[in-house]
């Protein structure tokens, strides 16, 4: 057993979840800046 492809999949899934969340949060922050006129 080596499971390298599972290790790579776990790495990709981890970062897609984290960076996806940060991207959504950044988009919300950007829309707030427009609302606050900054």
């Amino acid at each position: 057993m080596n499971g390298q492809k599972f290790m790579v999949a776990a790495f990709i899934v981890t970062w897609v979840i984290h960076l996806g969340y940060v991207a959504l949060l950044t988009a919300k922050w950007g829309s707030q800046r427009r609302k606050l006129g900054q």
Binding site: Q4, F11, T14, V22
Partner: protein, 235 residues
Amino acid sequence: MKKLLVSLSVLVTIALMIWGYYQAMYAAPMEATMGDVQRIFYYHVPNAMLAFLFFAISFLASLVYLATRRSNAPVAQAADAWALAGAEVGVIFCTVVLTTGPLWGRPVWGIWWTWDARLTTTLVLWLIYVSYLLLRKFAAGPQMQTLAAVLAVFGALDVPIVYMANRWWRTQHPAPVFGGGDDSGIKDPHMLAAFGWNVLAWAVWGLLILVFRVYVERRQQKIENDRAAAALAAE
């Protein structure tokens, strides 16, 4: 000064994440039985530890909200922002736990999932906090924050159950890495170092996201307060 501090925090976090990646993928030796798939452990376990931490933050902030909501509105609003941020970031980390776990289980156990105590209580924990976020998203009215705070307090009761699940019951999930008796713990110093660096890197990353989430929520509260004040002034 504030911008410099934020830029510095982001740079330190990125450097730690790269170092953590190097430690997990290259510096730590390959585990004899499982091979490379064991390296998932360096992501899975720190994400689980931090999910617990963020749910604990949500729990404490919810208690503060419930204690101060009638007597001290500014403190209550700040606590509410921390409670929401803790729950939301906790759900993100818990989602990573629930996806990387099966990706490890498939090659090692031969199955993606089993309804053992550790896995099931973790899924229940995730569902409780997802329902918390749905409540906050779709419920309206002045009672929403109070209901959400009560749900966060009850949800946090599942955290010690998840932690103790593979100590109290016989589970398919591996035995505890730490605090599981005389035989527990990482024996190889390189593996221990890789694990430690990844805990540190994920903790710094998680806290950075948490603070960003609190900041966004505080601004949202300001936007809503301004809107309410404008509506009152227009009457």
